[in-house]
Symmetry: C2
Subunit: 303 residues, 2 copies
């Protein structure tokens, strides 16, 4: 995208970057691994998608997954389920099927329904995906390991944990921005000295991302509607004196993920040379405004 | 309690029953098992309680657990944690400590906080209790096994799954009522022919209970704010034509668990000889009214 945008309207050094550019080398790696399998006579992995809703966004996402799999040599099978109450059985079938290597569930299935307990049935389904098939890294075991900085499934350290996918994609974006990650430092300290604000603390994006960046040495402010936490030095701290404004103003990396159409981050909170990543399905930042700030890099992740 | 109540004010056969009476033989069994361990020179099991709130109900519950443990010969250690954000670390310490046999977390820890995602951090904690220490049977693995009618943790069938505790206590109450369970039938069919309505579908009480009774052969209507499901014959069905009233009116067992002070089940929906169990912390049924219905048994479980 950057080539198509007239750079003159931006402040010096400001740029809008397409996440696809960051993804390209990883997709190349997937293709080469699948090719190696085929050369050894092993069938390419099978990813099963479970779709049980008519939400156009979920349908679109299911189509994209299919296209990406085909392009990368992965077998893909979309299973469409009429009634949400049948998804659990279909999911367990796929978990137990040795021919299935990966499972992706297209949410919402039940969505945020009205219930006495306030629970979402989708959270239950998310944790029902077996860790052996969980390509999104969202089941409880993977999240719990991440929060404790446990990087392998087994004691022998042969199988790496799968990291929550959307949060991992933000990390990959930040790794591609030279100033965010310092790979000359030892593992666990690549982000030392970096201050990050993440506006979202869901178990899908915000909390895993905060943990990952803190595990890499950053100081991470995690903001939700009712509270601000600081993830730092392997520990979680409560921030009584901070406000969203004070956090963003001292951050060189800001990630927004607010699932509300009306939310807009005030552009004047963002300092020069900040990397801004928006992972919401809504525009949480005013792109035109922040690209007037010198040195700002702006990424968008469709989510 | 039944002895203290003047029976003349009740309809013929109607009775109010104290859950403690049902519990007594199980506590006796626990005491005898602990005594056997001690005779073999094995220390009695250690239960760790984690309390991180000043909610008087949670504190009271923690005290009760302690008293019950001491009475039954189980060692009990209450760990009070100042800040909710430190509970996860304390929980992981207890999970990893080979001296700890059981863990009980006193909720709410975070409670239903305002968040962009609508998730409750308490659900995450509930699933973080290792299945090896989960005396309440509420972690995802135990619930998931229950919903699939898998009764053992291991393939060799040496270790039984722990069933969700509050739901199990309702089963034990129903087993104590002669007309509910027919133990002359084969396993899985003890409740054949019984129609049950459960008003609550939380992952803590309503859904596990519906699964347990359906696994025993009952037809179970599961009611929540926005939907009615029927658990029957190992499967979940959507009930388009039913209403709470139509379900209760055909049920011989009714379980209420609505966490709202204002909710009251209309007494005229309940037919004669029905067993009514209230597991809410509020009075969901008008006790005086339903005890005017011939043959009604009324149980209360503090929750």
């Amino acid at each position: 995208m950057s080539a198509a945008n007239p750079p003159k309207q931006y402040a010096p050094g400001a740029r809008k970057v397409d996440a696809g550019t960051t993804a390209a080398p990883f997709r190349e790696e997937v293709r080469s691994q699948v090719a190696k399998l085929k050369q050894s006579g092993i069938e390419s992995p099978l990813l099963v998608g479970l779709l049980a809703n008519t939400d156009p966004a979920a349908k679109k996402y299911a189509e994209w997954t299919g296209k990406a799999c085909i392009a990368d040599g992965i077998r893909y099978e979309l299973r469409t389920i009429e009634d949400p109450i049948d998804v659990e059985a279909a999911l367990c079938d796929a978990n137990d099927d040795p021919r299935v290597h990966g499972i992706i569930v297209y949410y919402p299935i039940f969505g945020q329904v009205e219930s006495f307990s306030g629970e979402s049935q989708d959270d239950y389904l998310r944790d029902t995906v077996s860790y052996k098939c969980d390509v999104e890294g969202l089941c409880h075991q993977y999240r719990s390991n991440l929060y404790r900085n446990i990087r392998f499934v087994d004691r022998e350290h042969t199988k790496k944990c799968v990291l929550p996918c959307t949060a991992l994609s933000v990390v990959k974006i930040l790794e591609s921005v030279e100033k965010c990650y310092d790979k000359s430092k030892p593992i666990g300290r690549h982000m030392e000295g970096q201050v990050v604000t993440i506006i979202n603390r869901s178990e899908i994006v915000g909390r895993p991302l905060a943990a990952m960046l803190a595990n890499d040495g950053a100081e991470v402010y995690s903001i939700d509607i009712d509270s601000i936490y600081l993830f730092s030095g392997g520990r979680l701290h409560k921030c009584e004196g901070e406000t969203p404004e004070s956090c963003v103003k001292k951050s060189s990396i800001v990630v927004t993920g607010v699932p509300t159409k009306s939310y807009r981050l005030p552009s004047n909170w963002i300092k020069e040379d900040t990397t801004v990543v928006n992972v919401a399905s809504f525009k949480n930042v005013d792109e035109d405004e922040i690209l007037q700030i010198p040195g700002v890099s702006k990424y968008t992740l469709l989510y």
